[in-house]
Amino acid sequence: MTTEPLTFPLTSGGTFSPPKELMAMRGERPIARVRYPDGKLGWMVTRRATIREVLANPVFSARQELRSTPFSGAGPTPPAPPGMFIGMDPPDHTHYRRLLTGQFTVRRMRLLTERVEEIAEEHLDRMAAAGPPVDLVRAYASPIPAMVICELLGVPQDYRTRFEREAAEMSRRDATPEERQHAMVGIFSYLGELVGRKRVEPTDDLLSGLVTDDAGLTDEELTNLAFMLLGAGLDTTANSLGLGTFALLCHPEQIPVITNPETVDNAVEELLRFLPVVPGTVRTALADVEVEGVQVRAGESVMVSLPTANRDPERFTDPDALDLARPAAGHVAFGHGVHQCLGQQLARVELRVAFPALFRRFPSLRLAVPPAEVPLRDDMIMYGVHELPVAWDTES
């Protein structure tokens, strides 16, 4: 039997569901043919166990210059520049990652809890002062992770304002590729300046720590590392907060599970399981390798679908239901293998603070528009909502 390869874009399965084609294939064909927008044939993996197998196998390379991507219009990618270890394999990847891992441990991230609480409360105060309706993305979901990662890295306030403006431009819905490119160049130039400033005047923060590290990183490496950390720290948590709040407002009966300190940790895992914001990641086979009985040839790109893995009935009972009380550990929202998200413990702290703080402050929080009118980021590298208009009851 021959079947046509899948092509992009895939068909939306609905606001809170993975693409239709991928959900349909997971049970019968956990690995299936795809044709990437660059015309090359490759594979799509949807089953959780198989995804973990691919991401753990060093025969599958993360080198960005080797891979095809599902995004149309993406031209050939040059090799990762020094420091951008997300697009590298060991040992280069290991060299850079280990400079940072000590800064993102479970324990260190928990120490940030109090500060994240303060930041959340400041933004809630501002929302209360402004009064409903507000766009939750702009008022809460985006600025909290931005402020946290900037403080962690040691981005001073004057840089932060400029940086946030460019970051907003980069993720603006109707930004042209040229505008995005221009914003990115702007961010790189600020970060380059900032690295210079830290060299002259190191302070007590992550970037200064890297500048003075024995590894002797170059300005280019430092700038790229800072760019990667900022980028990874922004859109990810911001989209999880925006999309998660949207889902909770559609399932208000579950809100008490996330506001309860006893159950919040698992509730956050369930939101990560149900609504991973990274639709997938791509690896390229360095040699012929068999996966689920099919022969993947050297040079073929394999995309793993994190959302379908998180709905896999082999691991999760009734996987298509959002149930904040279910055991949710074992999701792959942060990936798997040596590239598993470096900042995942930071994301957990941010989400464990920000969701409960929001619903405690505004118990009557509700959507200010019909759910169908919430603009979805189904056109972006990272899923989420562009805006989330919300309202609440005010006393007067």
Binding site: A56, T101, G102, F104, T105, V106, Q345
Partner: protein
């Protein structure tokens, strides 16, 4: 009884073990690599150890069952 073995060379410092079974695992301050706090955990911690080993993204943990 249960014996835990951790391969610190394989470890990628994701912190899944310290998150899943904090009674048994921690991370060092320098590179965040796994530190085994309790290499022979009591029976009530066994399931946590197994889950941590299953979730480890780098397959750095082994749980041995010994007589």
């Amino acid at each position: 009884m249960t014996r835990i073995e951790a391969d610190r060379e394989l470890c990628v410092s994701a912190g899944m073990c310290a998150l899943t079974a904090p009674e048994i695992f921690d991370q060092d301050d320098d590179e965040g690599r796994v530190v085994v706090l309790d290499a022979r955990p009591s029976a009530d911690l066994r399931e946590g150890a197994l889950e941590a080993a299953r979730l480890c993204p780098a397959a750095a943990l082994t749980v041995h069952e010994e007589p």
